[in-house]
């Protein structure tokens, strides 16, 4: 009986020890890095969804509504305000398409985030002032160029996992 108790305690303590050393580091690698990469992908995708709706209007696939441009621009402003926080130094993973040089060129990266915010601000202002569709389309294209510029410098397409 005593022997059995001793055995159980030993097994438990080994398990505890293991859980202290092994499990937390696994939790860290998973929850930490993957978490923030996933978070920024979600933020980027949300901006993409906003751009999709406006883009369809610019392409003439959806009826034009300037209220949609105000809403879309605001969504981009909200999400772009979080971008810098979602790229903590060295946060990469197998799934991430971010290029590590964004951290060595951090100032430039921040300038690009600000540019997206600024172009989205202008789009929101135009939509609020009741500008015509031509003006909105033109500003939408400028905003899109700011997304493309950053993706040109700091993102690289990876092959899909099969």
């Amino acid at each position: 009986m005593k022997k059995l108790l001793f055995y159980v305690i030993r097994t438990l303590s080994v398990f505890l020890l293991l859980s202290v050393t092994v499990v937390p580091s696994w939790v860290y690698a998973h929850g930490g890095a993957t978490g923030v990469v996933k978070e920024r992908m979600d933020a980027m995708s949300a901006m993409g969804d906003a751009m999709e709706i406006m883009g369809d209007m610019v392409k003439g696939k959806r009826p034009f509504e300037s209220s949609a441009f105000l809403e879309g621009a605001k969504a981009v402003i909200d999400h772009s305000a979080k971008i810098t926080v979602l790229f903590p130094e060295g946060s990469l993973s197998a799934k991430s398409e971010a290029l590590p040089k964004l951290w060595t060129e951090w100032d430039q990266f921040v300038v690009m985030v600000k540019r997206t915010e600024k172009e989205a601000d202008k789009l929101a202002a135009l939509a609020e002032n009741g500008s015509d569709s031509r003006a909105l389309k033109k500003q939408f294209v400028k905003l899109g160029k700011s997304c493309k510029s950053c993706h040109t410098d700091y993102r690289k397409k990876k092959k899909e996992e099969h």
Partner: protein, 289 residues
């Protein structure tokens, strides 16, 4: 009397001469203007202007890392010593179409003459006229850093023999003018195939797999296919989606293109006429594209 006749003749010939000079400079200016468009169509700035390193226009110096070693693009500004300012039209056409330098050396296919070979004489001459009037930059081109045996230019003769189809562009009489224009742009000056077509073990284009994508593109970048059978998503894009992605960079789902395609959009497709973008889209949408 004789004197009068002489001065009249002189006057007439001066007028005639100035008229022809004017006509010539006018057609020369037209050529330069067309050449500027060809320059965008060819995306020369993507490689010969090192924007990231704050390089001067056309002075080269862009670093290209490949499995064979590091290439640096050369100076193609109009400097007569360090650029290509002293080249004749024939020198230029031979370089662009045969991949051979004025000294008779073979170029490496990191210079996509493999596609430029399809360009028409007129386009190449206009392009040269444009390059000739760009500012000269007196900067020495950097030497490539290639390992043996790739540092032997003469080997490129064998490579070309196996991989280089230098036949001229043939239009397809069964297709529309616009489709043929698209085929010319994609396979010729805009060299879309250089990235979007997979390569064989020797680094030559696998022409049986035209535009089938390249998962391990240059610099480890994945390049998507532009044919519906290999890229279902792309197969669902309509003509307006393709044009919008080439003009602005936006995919139908709101994501934005980037990486090396970002440079192609910046230097080439965002500068093309609506007509040419339509032609590209028509070609890519067709089963042959």
């Amino acid at each position: 009397m004789k004197n009068r006749l002489f001065s009249v003749l002189l006057l007439i010939s001066t007028i005639l001469l100035s008229v022809t000079v004017m006509a010539e400079s006018e057609s020369e200016q037209d050529s330069v203007k067309r050449g500027e468009y060809i320059f965008a169509l060819g995306g020369c700035a993507s490689c010969h202007t090192n924007t990231e390193g704050d390089g001067k226009p056309l002075a080269g110096g862009l670093k290209m890392e490949t499995p064979f070693g590091v290439f640096y693009t050369p100076n193609i500004s109009s400097d007569s010593k360090l650029g290509i300012g002293s080249w004749s039209e024939q020198d230029f056409i031979k370089a662009m179409r045969k991949g051979i330098s004025p000294e008779g050396d073979h170029y490496y296919p990191a210079f996509p003459y493999t596609s430029y070979a399809k360009m028409t004489d007129q386009d190449l001459l206009d392009l040269k006229a444009f390059l000739d009037v760009q500012p000269a930059v007196s900067e020495l081109s950097k030497e490539h850093e290639l390992s043996f045996p790739f540092n032997q230019r003469s080997l490129m003769a064998i490579w070309k023999w196996l991989n280089f189809d230098n036949s001229e562009f043939k239009s397809n009489p069964k297709k529309s003018t616009s489709w043929n224009r698209g085929a010319y742009i994609v396979n010729g000056p805009s060299h879309c195939v250089e990235c979007h077509t997979p390569r064989n073990l020797m680094g030559g284009l696998d022409t049986d797999e035209g535009l089938a994508g390249n998962e391990d593109g240059p610099d480890g970048e994945a390049v998507p296919a532009l044919i519906a059978s290999n890229n279902k998503e792309f197969g669902d894009w309509d003509v307006s989606d393709i044009i919008f992605s080439l003009e602005v960079g936006m995919k139908p789902d709101g994501d934005f293109l980037g990486g090396s395609m970002g440079h192609v959009i910046e230097n080439t497709t965002s500068r093309l006429s609506e007509e040419d973008l339509k032609a590209i889209a028509e070609y890519l949408k067709s089963p042959e594209g």
